[in-house]
Symmetry: D2
Amino acid sequence: MRNQPDPAAAPWVQDAILERFRWTRNLSRDLAQGLNEADMTVQSMPDASPVKWHLAHTTWFFETFLLRDQVPGYRLFDERWPFLFNSYYEAEGARMARPERGLLTRPTVAEMLAYRDHVDEAMVAALPRLMERHGELVELGIQHEQQHQELLLTDLKHLFSRNPLGPAYAAANPAPKLESVPLRWIAGPEGLAEMGSDGRGFAFDNELPRHPSWLAPHALANRPVTNGEWIEFVADRGYASAALWLSDGWDWVRQEAVSTPLYWRGHGNDWEHFTLAGWQPVDPAAPVTHVSFYEADAFASWAGARLPTEHEWEAVAQGRDTLGGVQLDHAGAVAPRPEGEVDGFASLFGNVWEWTGSAYRPWPGYRTAAGAVGEYNGKFMSGQFVLKGGSCATPRGHVRGSYRNFFHPHQRWQFTGVRLARSL
Amino acid sequence: MRNQPDPAAAPWVQDAILERFRWTRNLSRDLAQGLNEADMTVQSMPDASPVKWHLAHTTWFFETFLLRDQVPGYRLFDERWPFLFNSYYEAEGARMARPERGLLTRPTVAEMLAYRDHVDEAMVAALPRLMERHGELVELGIQHEQQHQELLLTDLKHLFSRNPLGPAYAAANPAPKLESVPLRWIAGPEGLAEMGSDGRGFAFDNELPRHPSWLAPHALANRPVTNGEWIEFVADRGYASAALWLSDGWDWVRQEAVSTPLYWRGHGNDWEHFTLAGWQPVDPAAPVTHVSFYEADAFASWAGARLPTEHEWEAVAQGRDTLGGVQLDHAGAVAPRPEGEVDGFASLFGNVWEWTGSAYRPWPGYRTAAGAVGEYNGKFMSGQFVLKGGSCATPRGHVRGSYRNFFHPHQRWQFTGVRLARSL
Amino acid sequence: MRNQPDPAAAPWVQDAILERFRWTRNLSRDLAQGLNEADMTVQSMPDASPVKWHLAHTTWFFETFLLRDQVPGYRLFDERWPFLFNSYYEAEGARMARPERGLLTRPTVAEMLAYRDHVDEAMVAALPRLMERHGELVELGIQHEQQHQELLLTDLKHLFSRNPLGPAYAAANPAPKLESVPLRWIAGPEGLAEMGSDGRGFAFDNELPRHPSWLAPHALANRPVTNGEWIEFVADRGYASAALWLSDGWDWVRQEAVSTPLYWRGHGNDWEHFTLAGWQPVDPAAPVTHVSFYEADAFASWAGARLPTEHEWEAVAQGRDTLGGVQLDHAGAVAPRPEGEVDGFASLFGNVWEWTGSAYRPWPGYRTAAGAVGEYNGKFMSGQFVLKGGSCATPRGHVRGSYRNFFHPHQRWQFTGVRLARSL
Amino acid sequence: MRNQPDPAAAPWVQDAILERFRWTRNLSRDLAQGLNEADMTVQSMPDASPVKWHLAHTTWFFETFLLRDQVPGYRLFDERWPFLFNSYYEAEGARMARPERGLLTRPTVAEMLAYRDHVDEAMVAALPRLMERHGELVELGIQHEQQHQELLLTDLKHLFSRNPLGPAYAAANPAPKLESVPLRWIAGPEGLAEMGSDGRGFAFDNELPRHPSWLAPHALANRPVTNGEWIEFVADRGYASAALWLSDGWDWVRQEAVSTPLYWRGHGNDWEHFTLAGWQPVDPAAPVTHVSFYEADAFASWAGARLPTEHEWEAVAQGRDTLGGVQLDHAGAVAPRPEGEVDGFASLFGNVWEWTGSAYRPWPGYRTAAGAVGEYNGKFMSGQFVLKGGSCATPRGHVRGSYRNFFHPHQRWQFTGVRLARSL
């Protein structure tokens, strides 16, 4: 995964990794605070997984690819559990069907936490040795857990949204109601540009190899589309105008009777949306979120614009990482809001995942890793679109300019939004 | 529901009803002992409901049809809850879709139990007054809760069966392995026979009115079909022989790839089945259970017999009630086993629900009750078949000769079995 | 099938059978007059079959069960065709899936007619010999073809109804607009009544054995429900009133968005319906048709009545046959209309198939025939309801008092109607 | 559509267009020779359309966008027909659902041909005038009809393949059995390359605008993958090896139980496939065809290669057109076979459509045409992959280097094949 040779890990590096491992593992547990056994067990749709399952699956990842494979003498916590907590690794053998994850009322949360303790202890003990040759796998395990931290929150949000009582996971964030930032167009770089990870720091295999790409003249919006703008789109019958939509998108809109972003209810100028703090008024100045690629594309057509390619997006964000953004470090940071400007661009990182117009396909020269871990990214490279920038639910430090997230064009239970682009 | 005028309830009758109300309400709560919050919340298929939902729905029944409708000044425990816990009463307005009952991680079990306490207190206080004019409704509420006690167990059994770890709800019953009772044919009554409730004791509206029916010469088996006999059917390729099956049954067998009763696994003479005590060996002498009407009918064809009509079954069981049988009074009594003989017939009551060959249709002169309660039975009189006799999971005292249970011909998650019949 | 020993067939009986065979075979061919190759090939839904398939399947029936099985030396017309034209006989081996019947653009109609000629010649040559021992099978083949003549028309009607151009199969019947007959209630026989075929003339196995049944006091309507009455039901929001419907029926109404009988369009008092003569005004005095069992049952509830049992219906019609009615003898007689009264009952036979409230189950002592022909009726005895009396599309002489037709409760592409009943 | 201003059409240009119009219109009609009314009417799956529908839809295209819109005084042939023959143009209003096209047994083929005559006459009369301002639309209509000529053949092939009798559309082509060409890798151009139509000749809007793209070092195979190589893939359990497949592809393989290319049957080295000449032996030297993108991608993985990008493919084919290839000019040329080499590359054009690894998305700066015709290409730019080169069923002169065909990754009823590529 890592695009540079493993350093013979110096002690201070080991300490840092140990700290990072512990911090990440604890955060997952913290995110489950305040939830009862049922909240953590129920699965609200096949796309989503139970909180408890996320806690166990991330543990299974460390147990399988590090402890079982690389630590002699390690004994599995329970030999029946890999069948339960393997997600999609064909090379790891049979496993529960995805839509059945919610049937696991047992093992209990307490047993799951004991599993985590067991694996964490073994990992901490083995970490110095593992770092010598498998530092990239340790880091992959951490990054993997961070991805599931975001999913844990979006999956839980979906579950709570289906409950007619609309329970809250967190207290509402009393954010001051901000003024909307005026839309401006900023020309992006033209001609040859380097894409992909520059080799400093961790990168998933799908960010590699670094390679040139030719950019046509274009401009990007200075900020994501806002709820207020989306309300105009709704009012202008955007959801009822076939001419704005991709054919598949139009089929989807009609079959699913979609007429607003996910989690919205209301009409006219009176809208509220379901959040992790329960039902809340829609803030017109905040970035719109929970829209599908189809909606994003239709909105762009309506606005006389288009979605950026992932190359255009990445060319602007290169060299930047998430430290300038705002991301999850506690359970409260879970709603998009307008964030500070960097070089003219607001909210590039850590607000909403921005749909690009690029289908998720391999970079030129892409190679999957060997073994089961090779299934991590590559086998999903059809039927999905690339998203960039991370969301309010992405853990701090997880995202970067070359990061390629991907979802199917109809999916919208993630914190997904839109930044417009134009050809010049 | 009751086919006689309400007596001006004497004090001792009121005491008896009060005792019965308390005993029934407590039993539901007792049945949930040992389950965690998730066990009680998850729904494993649309046909089944969560344990927690059963606890709340039975409470809603008393709250709605007695407290709300008949007790002036009663305040609903929570105005949002009827939407959650109305099962199928169209006259009671909108409600959650049945397959979504498992999404209710809130309200919690503790809130559900508080709901039960609230309603029980109000019921106990109002009971003397209610018995004056609504004794039949009180009894209906109790009978209704008893039905849900059985469903609670069968629904939980289904949930646990879907868990690869096969958790146990109760300790296995160390029943002595019995010898199978030899099959004998006993001629039933011929000619004109009275059907339906004789008016002594409670009866659902679908057991009324009492009416004559003409019985052709026939005989019934002295006992239900056993697991051992079913194993012979399997070995003789019964599940692969189209000629034995109804056309719909044959479609079902192939589409669902059915080759054994529900919950069986194994082959040859080596079978185990999932029980409320986890995976256990199949006892050849015990009555077969968890078979669909289609399987029951195919087995009967294979055996050169047929299913009894509900009239034939009822003619034998008239005047008998469940006191002679064995039914649920604690959580342990939850597996069929051969039981003592009465007048030549073994296990008529309280072992397995016996499929009859009679489609569930109204008795001549049938009338539904007025109001929402009229939806209790009548609207289900298409597409289902009648079952008789009660099962090991039926609460003591709940079933009787005229009792008409009903399920769709493919359903088999109840404790359903087979008694053979023959025309003479 | 026949419930009496085969007579040593006298020459005049043979002549009569020969005449009847020829007449029936020719009628099928005549019914296809005026249709093009595509009209005869396309399948509009899985329930329906192409005209061409009906022509071939009825021929296959004679070829298989008489020529192949009983005539030494007979050579199949084409060895590949039984796979194409076996309908549902498991004992006859593999066959095309039902929904794929419409893919057979080859063999052509001309080849199909050559097949008919080939089989007819062989049948006519073999008939004297066949009548000696297999007269019942010859008659079954004829009755079978008559059933398919009715299906040919209803399947074609469905196909044409799906065509936006609404083509006509036949010229409209310029029937004089009649006055509606006032509704009267006529008490039916009470107490013990004999049911089933009396052994005079042909009967399907499902009409046997003759047996007593006990009838409760009741009355039947003198005539079927009319279009005019159905329009009142629509106007009174019958299709929107859950309380009138069986639970399965209510699900069906909502899922399929049903708000009128099949083939109706319009509103208020301005309705037309699709007929074999194209779109025509709805005649308020004519019997309503193309309603499902669910609709029939809901209408009866709305009218404060119920559907008759098949026993009640049959008790009135015993000894009567179709000669007093009006049935198909040419392609024009294909719309229900009020017909002459017999003993106070109008339109008992040959107008609309009247839904009864009786589930289609075996008569006491029922036995299927041996061999593949035993699949004719018995295996369909679940999930369907009995209809009586025949329709305007039933061939003359085909129906009788003991005749038991059967369809699923949601099906309505046959000429199905309603006669009301009441318990007294 | 055309990327250059309309010339004031010179007489010789008009003559050429007229000739081309007539030739194309006649070819469609010729392709239907030998088919009966039913062959031309039945629809074998939602993806496919009836032959008759293709004949009418292509006519509707000329009638609507040229005669109705541009020729004053033109009267529609039948006002009800646009509802029947509009394919997917939302701007043209309501239309039949796609899966219902096969219900149109009327209008008849004769009426369809009269429609064609009517429109052709009007077109020929109006052509000189139309060429002055709408030459691009006339050419679009011709190109559109050519696309439907290919679909007509592939849709018909699918229909005939579903018929157990396996009818033949054309006589088998007695092609000499050729030796397979050895596989060689040819390096493609690197660095900046121009993509898209160069503006000489017709181009669809999706081939525009011309733009630079940066190509990484790579090589392409000199010829498509052969049947013989595919048989090795099958023998090596390629269809059973999860590791070779994209995740969506693996789901598809299992759900559809795919184990060979479409239309194959047999085992080991003994394979035949269904062709327009009926069932024929598979020629190991011929290009494999009727494979999905998923299969193409899995095969490439198995072969240690990958699919070419559309850029890589186009860079090789630039400036070339189909005259060097072999395409449909009569009904017989409808099976792929190895064809003569051009610059080292065999079968670039006119043999099988070659799947590329490029998702079908707009070129930088892409703009749809105004009006309903703008729906031609752009709205399909999600969920599909680009194919290049044309097939044996593509009309002569229709395809070119910049041509972008597109299908969903699971579709394989077109003549689709594979050319391997490698990164260097």
